[in-house]
Amino acid sequence: MIRAMIVINNQGKPRLSKFYNYTPVEQQQQLIRSIYSVLCLQPENVSNFIEGGSIWVRQKTYFSDSRLVYKLFATLYFVFVFDSSENELAMFDLIQVYVETLEKCFSNVCELDIVLNYSKIHTILDEMILGGQVVETNSEKVMQAVEEISKLEKVTAATKLISKSTSVLWG
């Protein structure tokens, strides 16, 4: 199963983290830090897989038999932590699907979109992964579901929207 999905920027700030096994908050932070410390040292043109043993020396019991696959998009690392019951390349593809879905959602997605649409990226993730298992790999379907949710929101919520242009202010 997938044990965690983490998005970290290239400065080590978490942008999204979801653990599918209960993990106390301190341990989450520790894991994120140790993952980042390995990722930021990865040279170019190496494989996208990192073995758990080489990262969490101290958390060995928690994440034994786990691997990590990552992909760097601009300033963001997208990371999946998974166990031996998953196929490595399939996990790698899943990152691609997630990012492609974000792209469809935000067109020309950048870190800022992800930061400011914190709730939305959670919703998208929940449409793709449930309880550590892939629930949908078709980004069209994911989009449909997310749009349905958006409509529901619109009906009930009377809130101001933040457009891309205004968000540039904080860039």
Partner: protein
Amino acid sequence: MALSGMRGLSVFISEVRNCRNKEQERLRVDKELGNIRTRFKNEKGLTPYEKKKYVWKMLYIYMLGYDVDFGHMEAVSLISAPKYPEKQVGYIVTSCLLNENHDFLRLAINAVRNDIIGRNETFQCLALTLVGNIGGREFAESLAPDVQKLLISSSCRPLVRKKAALCLLRLFRKNSDILNVDGWSDRMAQLLDERDLGVLTSSMSLFVALVSNNHEAYWSCLPKCVKVMERLARNQDIPQEYTYYGIPSPWLQVKTMRALQYFPTVEDPSIRRALFEVLQRILMGTDVVKNVNKNNASHAVLFEALALVMHLDSEKEMMSQCVALLGKFIAVREPNIRYLGLENMTRMLMVTDVHEIIKRHQAQIITSLKDPDISIRRRSLDLLYGMCDVSNAKDIVEELLQYLGTADFAMREELALKAAILAEKFAPDLSWYVDVILQLIDKAGDFVSDDIWFRVVQFVTNNEDLQPYAALKAREYLDKPAIHETMVKVSAYLLGEYSHLLARRPGCSPKEIFSIIHEKLPTVSTPTISILLTTYAKILMHSQPPDPELQNQVWAVYSKYESCIDAEIQQRAVEYFALSRKGEALMDILAEMPKFPERQSSLIKKAEDTEADTAEQSAIKLRTQQQASNALVLTDHRPANGAPQVSQLGMIMVPSTSNVDQNVVDQPLTHSNGTLSVVDPQPPAQDHAPAGDILGDLLGPLAIEGPPGVSPQSELNNVPSHEGTLGANDALALAPVGDQESTVKPIGDIAERFHALCLKDSGVLYEDPYIQIGIKAEWRGHQGRMVLFLGNKNTASLDSVQAKILPPSHLKLDLSLVPKIIPPRAQVQCPLEVVNLRPSRDVAVLDFSYKFGTYLVNNRLRLPAVLNKFFQPIQVSAEEFFPQWRSLPGPPLKLQEVVRGVRPMSLGEMANLFNSLKLMVCPGLDPNACNLVASTTFYSENTRAMLCLIRIETDPADRTQLRMTVASGDPTLTFELKEFIKEHLVSIPTAGKPPAPVAQQPQPNIPPIASSDPGALLAGLL
């Protein structure tokens, strides 16, 4: 951008983002948390929108690593909100913040259930997602039926059903009882027919969980999986949007093939054919293309197909095709493929015999050891380790050694350990092994665990040919300007033991060796100094005649450390100093270390241990198990009688050895007399303990799995007559001898007399200066009559004569009255009636005491009313023998045993022995001249007359072992007879039998022991 429609949240996130450092961030977050807390407290003023906003903020803060426990309740309460946006936040945030054991979650079960069984699909989805992410046992119990209903319902939209499948998977993991195996397998099979790929993908995940738990129940689903594969890979019969870069849903393909790997095999030939057709298509039809994403997807499928092919253990041809593919992969540019290629090759080593084909790729694998990617380097190390055998060990280990110099620090320890193990397991010759380990220590001393150098010391100690070479190598390394401390340890040890073998070489005189080792002393730590001190003592010992200059140098070192703060060093310094003044006696004290008992390499064990927590499919683990037998076999120089242990002790013998020697030689004599057996075996052992400790200490660092110092102690007790037991226990051993002089010593060996009487019917049972006890016996069937003759040898009378019989349960013994006083020079006869009730080897004991003057003598004597007394030899012919033999088919009436450690005797001697035991040897029955057949009739009240048949098959090449078959009509008899014969074959009766019951004590007050077998009890006491 509806979902992000919370200005407050965005503003907050931006502010946190703009914080320049962690401290500012903390301040900002604390301020916000304070704000949220107060707002939650006065709930009245909170609009649903605000509530929602604050809960999102909390989740964000939580992600940053702050504690938000106070808000759990708020998040959970949102779940029961009537409107969608609040409910959604409640569900998402709850599933991030809480775990299944959280109390608040229990409060929500009802609300969640209402959403699941409600009509609102979106609510259903939210609830299913929450339960799928964090549902626990309680959820499983209360929600499983509802979730099942959703999954199989035909009216539900796929959107809901796919979530229901994964939700059910979570609940199943929490409580596997929720799915009734019988009923569910049919439903599962139906689910695998699903057309909607989203639902099918989730169902396949559920299916994988189910088959991994119990594949037996789901055989009916196997053809369905093959159908899914055919549909995807062959027919490509899926909607366009489920192809990913032209590949039909790689995730579903991968999951399906994963599921198939949980079935042990595919038996149905047509299904098997169909599956292999698909697999073949995948293996052959995957090309490397430019588009990276397409490449990844197609290779995801391909690697899973490879795993499935390996699992199905298909024909060799297909296997070599797989290896060829992998060989291609490990050389491609794309690092992910290289990585997975190496990994799968390692797996391949485990499942099938493709070792030779994989070896063709060795060069490429070695190249990968230098890959810029550490993940790839690790894989390649694993693979090299797994594929190593005698033929390529030299190449591989040398590569590893070379790599060690440049390897990442994170990998060095593992690398060193693996190189050491491979060198040990597959060394073409031992000198190479020594080279490798010394190089290892030289190059990566920090990463060489103690186990590694202990092991090389063991090898060198146990292989004499290796000793001069190892010493020379150690000497060479000492010439290097800066060497690792471990190298100091190992070379000091080796040179201490074996430098005298180099004495003629230039630079290897004791003095030179001493000075080059001593140079290192200022740089090393305390434990190493201890080793060096021992080395000096050994060097000193080997320089004969003593070199006064060297002596003075060493003594100077010892006297310097005499006041060392470290107790260990101080003790060594003081003791070695004293010992080294003993002159030639030093030779005996500091003799060469004995050979180590052979044991499993702790290195290999360690490697197995570390692998225990990596992957179930660790190829290495499996192969180490298979190859354990390939490990270098040390010549086992350990004679059965424990002599080496004694020499081990010899090394630590403490002073005053030589002058006790003489006394101790007497000891075995007295001991075999039996008088000494009063001495509890424990005291000598305890007395050895301090000696053992010194031993343990010297050996301490070498004791890889247990201090070898332990075994000698126990062995010692078994060989008390060995001269090696002197020294340490001399004082104690001698003390009783001194005492004995004031008491009464028996004449002759009591045990020997007993054994003689077992074979004949009259003779002396016991004799001392004052009394002689003779025996005369007659046997008829299961009854017997013994007469004890008690003769007073003195001119004074013997008082307080007492004789009591302690009968075993199988004998009825009736001793007539024994007079209290035996007059001078008189002989008293005491008849003893014996009835044998059933077969048993237990022995009756005569508890006998008398008083002579001030001496009180008490003895316990075994009575020769033994099993063979109730035998009547009988000659049987072939016509009688074979039908009887065949009619007793096997255990428990006919027992067979291979007896080892038989005392060597010719066949004639054995026949004599049997005849004297009243087992009639019947020549000519067995055509094989090396075999022996005997028969006898046994009598007891229970069994009456019972024929016993015995066959002994000897091995002319090895007289110490034979095969024995014993048959009779009574299982107890068969067993007892077998054991009885064994006792006579295996041991020399005088020594090997349980010690004679000769407790002779100055005080008479031995409480009578009530027991079924006093003989055995007595033996136990002794």
